[in-house]
């Protein structure tokens, strides 16, 4: 039976992990996402479903534990916040190279460096450009509600296994810490070892039976010719994902003269701005990317044909605006409004920015 609860985003994600049949969570505490591992340790899913929960000695160790478990064909995940994600990038790059499916959640805080513990969105570049070294992408999902924090766990693993690639949930401290009503998914059973061997035995290190060649999980190939072929294979995979996995939401874009583009907490604030603007007679709309990679370029390009301008609203100095600019292709002016360092913009200051930009266009 579906269950409605009032939960923090972090807790909803943790509970959804248990219910999605995740095999292992490896984490390390960091504000504002420590509730994930706290919740899991409290719920003891090792008793409920057999799911492994382990507090590692560092983010580095945690992501490499994910590597080990994922290479066995298991559903493995980790979560952290900005500084911790920087540490995990080594492992994430290795996993992209070794084609390992896994889920990584970044509950972003303000940076750079130790930054602040308040919400931020300044890890956008890091997330959508892969983050670590080498040519690769992550599929990046941006929840803007507690419900989506829960829903994207299952979606994330589906995509991770479909493409044998790491998937990132890019959230922020506000979505992680706030409580909302959430309908929890039904309990899915974890896959048995036999089922894992059946599904993923062609690549996963499940122990070599006589019937097959050994499986090797590695991102290394010292022969450049072969490494290039491997890279081409990865790029083809990313092209397929770009074609098939774009997700977004349009809010009152049909008749909008001016469109805000925002994700996560900024999208929630921008929804309010659309409402306030329309109350004042401004025809505003909101395009909310749900996948930040692949980015919803096509719809933005289409909207640009009959829209007077765009405002990229982000809790950063302006990162997503680069993707909006590329998508708009010069067809309309694109501006940015953002707060930094853990500051959350208020709806009225965003509305002021919108009005200023609209006035500029009218002049």
């Amino acid at each position: 039976m579906e269950e409605v609860k009032l939960m923090k985003g972090n807790e909803a994600m943790a509970e959804a992990a248990i219910r999605s049949g995740v095999d292992a969570y490896f984490g390390y505490p960091i504000t504002p996402q420590s509730e994930v591992i706290e919740y899991l340790m409290h719920e003891e899913p090792f008793k409920r479903t057999g799911m492994v929960v382990l507090q590692a000695e560092s983010e580095l160790a945690a992501i490499n534990m994910v590597y080990g478990a994922a290479a066995c064909g298991k559903k493995a995940m980790t979560s952290s916040s900005s500084p911790g994600i920087s540490l995990k990038l080594e492992g994430i790059s290795y996993m992209a190279g070794a084609e390992l499916p896994c889920l990584i959640a970044n509950v972003m805080r303000g940076g750079p460096g130790l930054g602040t513990i308040q919400p931020g969105q300044s890890d956008y570049f890091q997330a959508v450009k892969g983050g670590g070294h080498g040519d690769y992408n992550l599929i990046v999902l941006a929840p803007s509600t507690v419900q989506e924090m829960a829903d994207f766990v299952n979606l994330g693993f589906d995509l991770a296994f479909k493409y044998r690639n790491p998937v990132m949930i890019l959230s922020d401290g506000a979505i992680g810490q706030m409580m909302e009503k959430v309908t929890l998914p039904k309990q899915k059973e974890r896959l048995s070892n036999e089922e894992i061997i059946k599904r993923y035995g062609s690549w996963a290190t499940t122990g070599k039976p006589e019937s097959r060649e050994r499986n090797i999980i590695t991102s290394l190939n010292l022969k450049s010719e072969l490494q290039e072929i491997h890279n081409q294979h990865l790029q083809n995979k990313f092209k397929t994902a770009e074609k098939n996995e774009v997700r977004y939401e349009q809010i009152q874009c049909e008749d909008a003269d001016y469109i805000l583009v925002a994700y996560g907490t900024s999208a929630r604030i921008s929804q309010k701005v659309v409402q306030l603007g329309r109350e004042k007679g401004l025809k505003l709309g909101l395009l909310r990317p749900i996948t930040l990679w692949p980015f919803p370029k096509k719809i933005i390009s289409e909207l640009a044909d009959h829209t007077k301008g765009f405002l990229s609203v982000e809790m950063s100095a302006g990162q997503m605006i680069e993707d909006v600019l590329l998508a708009v292709e010069g067809k309309a002016p694109v501006a940015h409004f953002g707060r930094m360092g853990g500051m959350i913009p208020s709806p009225s200051e965003v509305l002021d920015a919108v009005e200023k930009e609209i006035n500029k266009i009218l002049k």
């Binding site: 009032l6 506000a174 810490q177 009503k181 907490t265 929630r268 709806p347 009225s348 200051e349």
Partner: protein, 184 residues
Amino acid sequence: MTEEIIIAGFGGQGVLSLGKILAYSGIMQDQEVSWMPSYGPEMRGGTANVTVILSDDRINSPVLNEFDTAIILNQQSMDKFESMVKPGGLLLYDPNGISHHPKRKDIKIATIEGAKEASELNNKKTFNMVIMGAFLKIHPIVLMENVHKGLEKSLPPRHHHMIPLNEKAIKVGMEEVKVIHDYK
């Protein structure tokens, strides 16, 4: 109907749990709810605040800069949030410890002696429920039966024997709240 509320005071006054019980009560009557706390070091003894929204529709921003209701439980919060009450909105506060009283004329202002009433109930932890009663008297946005269900949901079972006392505190708050200014 949408009610946007800020509850602000000291950590330890039960600010966050008051917000949680309100939010759960909203869920019990099938409303959309959001509960957005200030978090971080200030929670440890400093100021704490939480934005609670109850709505019949999808909630957009969980972060607001104007509120239908501000429930103010210390001076710092009064200084910060008095100006953020929407014209025609409500400012409810406990005068205990307040030296600069609100000056707005375009809003409704009410007081509740929460700390005093809680100590008369011989349980200082009922403070936040006295405050909730005072608020619900003026803005009856949730039915008492749903508050009861909300209490059941948000309190761990080992504290369920405290529900009658909490409900008594809500009643006291309803009886003792005083509207000291009305904009009409």
